[in-house]
Symmetry: C2
Subunit: 117 residues, 2 copies
């Protein structure tokens, strides 16, 4: 689904940054090959491998990046801006459900019980 | 959008429970009138008023309810099961985006920075 509609691909070398904390966030990313580390305050919060998604939070609520993302090896990602995001959702509702599942997992990982209804 | 496709409505009296912690969660709710308290360990985590959504987490990842929901006044809700949820998303991608915004807000409220990319 990520190639046929002309969604742009980008490649990154090992160690190259994809975005930094506080960057404006106008796209989310799907890893096609390679791996990405999501990092905040020098701590790796998540490793994202092929098929994995990162950067969706800033896209969804138009906020700055709350963490940095670095390619940990040669990596290719699909870059999904808001227009493409809404088109994907409309065409494949299961895609939206997958993003929501990822987000639900993050909410449930919270130490407190806030918002877990 | 919540009436024309025959989405069921339910009414609750003040103080009546909508679901309890650990209940199976096969639907989310949109408040049409009244107000709902989302409660865990005796603490009100969220007040949800007209237009607000609750119970989406368990619907999304098929997990038991992690909090209870009680009507705090006479309340009418629309009950959205997974079939209706996917249909709504397909027809109105902005609906999916609204749910994601709500979830992003919850992730960002976390004390730690985990998952905030």
């Amino acid at each position: 689904m990520l190639t046929r509609r002309g969604i742009p691909l980008r490649t990154f070398a090992a160690g190259e940054r994809i975005f930094l904390e506080e960057d404006a966030g106008n796209a989310m990313y799907v890893v096609r090959s390679g791996a990405v580390d999501v990092i905040s305050f020098g701590k790796v919060l998540e490793h994202v491998g092929p098929g994995g998604v990162f950067g969706e939070m800033a896209l969804i609520d138009d906020s700055p990046r709350a963490a940095a993302a670095l390619a940990s090896q040669p990596t290719e990602v699909a870059v999904i801006d808001k227009t493409a995001f809404l088109a994907l959702i409309a065409e494949e509702p299961e895609f939206a459900l997958q993003i929501m599942k990822l987000m639900a997992e993050r909410v449930r990982r919270k130490p407190s019980g806030v918002g877990e209804a």
